[in-house]
């Protein structure tokens, strides 16, 4: 038997947690705060999301958690009051970021091999904006820095996790990615973190 009143209390509490947190909160932390299971929290989140239909706010699943945020339709109004989000990334920087996102962990040289162009400037920009970070060094000559994406990357693009990235087109690319992943697996088991 469900208890509507307890349910409503939990749903309201959940709403408060999301507002008070601002950014995305992992389900586990929400469940801990509410004192219910994660499955129960997921159900409450779904209910809450449904109750926001037709409203200005929405519940968004992003970066391994849930957040309460404004609907994109109303951005015009919002930006009249608060400053707009950071500048959109340039094409070349996005391209660099795409290679890092799909290939991570990846070195500068590997990014440049795919793009056929120097990418240090773009990598630096991405580091500055905290969209990528150094995740270690590849064992071997010069032990080059390995880059990976950050949580902010997921938030910036509204992605739930890395599996949520748009699929890469092309069968050969899939093969190459798989081969690359296998190679990296070997390299990592060779010696993690110098």
């Amino acid at each position: 038997m469900s208890e509507p009143r307890a349910d409503q209390t939990l749903r309201c509490a959940l709403e408060c947690l999301l507002l008070a947190s601002g950014g995305p909160v992992p389900v586990r932390r929400l469940a801990d705060a509410l004192g219910v299971s994660e499955a129960e929290t997921e159900r409450l989140l779904e209910e809450l999301a449904r109750s926001y239909e037709g409203r200005g706010l929405m519940v968004q699943q992003v970066a391994g958690g849930y957040q309460l945020c404004t609907r994109p339709e109303y951005a015009e109004f919002v930006t009249r009051l608060v400053s707009a989000q950071a500048e959109p990334l340039s094409r070349a920087t996005l391209e660099t970021l795409a290679v890092v996102a799909y290939r991570q962990p990846v070195t500068r040289a590997e990014v440049e091999a795919v793009r056929g162009a120097r990418s240090d400037h773009h990598l630096r920009k991405l580091l500055e904006r905290n969209l990528i970070r150094e995740v270690g060094r590849r064992p071997g000559p010069g032990s080059p820095i390995l880059y990976g994406t950050t949580d902010l990357f997921l938030r910036h693009f509204g992605l739930r996790d890395l599996k949520d990235l748009p699929p890469l087109a092309g069968r050969r690319v899939q093969d190459a990615l798989a081969a690359g992943a296998a190679r990296q697996g070997e390299a990592e088991s060779d010696g993690e973190g110098r």
Binding site: S21, T70, A75, R91, G116, G158, L168, A169, A176
Partner: protein, 242 residues
């Protein structure tokens, strides 16, 4: 979007984006033996204007080289079957690698465009900004290196008051990094900057601890927050995994 598929070319039996021509030629739908590639390149060069659209030019260059390669293969007599397996395999391998690379690059460009579309939506989504009032949870308050240094100087001055000789302590940055992380993990509410330096610590320990802190901040394993100008600086365990 023409830029995505390369500049449009017109040759015998085909008119459209050059990347499509590569695909068709590769699939055998367009016979490159009828196509004057030199003329195609000449015409393209005539249309080029300053400033160059480097992305488009690169796309053209890639595609044109792929066409030259496909055409040269079609012009050569069919390879005598098993005569020199090593040499032909090498050639094929190179061609295959080139194709893979081209396709790979194009796939990443498409992925970049998909990301741009996602970004355009997400830029229109706003969350409640973390404000100072709730700094306990997510302190996004700016601390400059100068602030940190000023605090460091205060600690050093405090140490100056009781001068000691420096014994050859085995203090390493790595040790102090461990120490700071341990301290912060035990204090979810953060720790005041000065508290990291036990009273009576030698200058060496203080300096090495400070270096360790800078290193941790760089790796985002420690977050630094200052609620107000000249206020106390608080340190929190960061989100990055050690």
């Amino acid at each position: 979007m023409t830029e995505r598929r390369g500049p449009v070319v017109r040759v015998a039996g085909f008119e459209g984006p050059i990347t499509e021509l590569v695909q068709k030629a590769h699939a055998g739908e367009v016979d490159l033996r009828d196509v004057h590639l030199g003329e195609m390149v000449q015409r393209y060069l005539q249309t080029l204007r300053q400033p160059l659209d480097l992305e488009e030019v690169t796309e053209f260059l890639w595609a044109a080289s792929a066409l030259v390669e496909i055409k040269s293969k079609s012009l050569l007599p069919p390879k005598p079957q098993p005569e020199e397996p090593a040499a032909t395999e090498e050639g094929e391998d190179l061609a295959r690698r080139l194709e893979v690379q081209l396709e790979e690059y194009r796939a990443f460009r498409e992925a970049a465009e998909a990301l741009a579309a996602l970004e355009a939506v997400q830029r229109r989504v706003f969350t409640r900004p973390a404000d100072e009032a709730s700094a306990g949870e997510l302190p996004l308050v700016g601390v400059t290196v100068e602030d940190l240094f000023a605090a460091f100087r205060r600690v050093l001055e405090r140490a100056e008051q009781k001068v000691e000789e420096i014994p050859a302590e085995g203090v390493t940055v790595a040790d102090r990094m461990q120490f700071i992380l341990r301290t912060l993990r035990q204090a979810p509410g953060g720790v005041e900057f000065e508290a990291l330096f036990e009273p009576g610590s030698s200058r060496l320990v203080i300096i090495v601890t400070f270096l360790a802190l800078l290193e941790l901040v760089r790796h985002r394993q420690v977050r630094v927050a200052q609620a107000e100008p000249f206020g106390p600086i608080r340190l929190y365990a960061g989100s990055a995994d050690p």
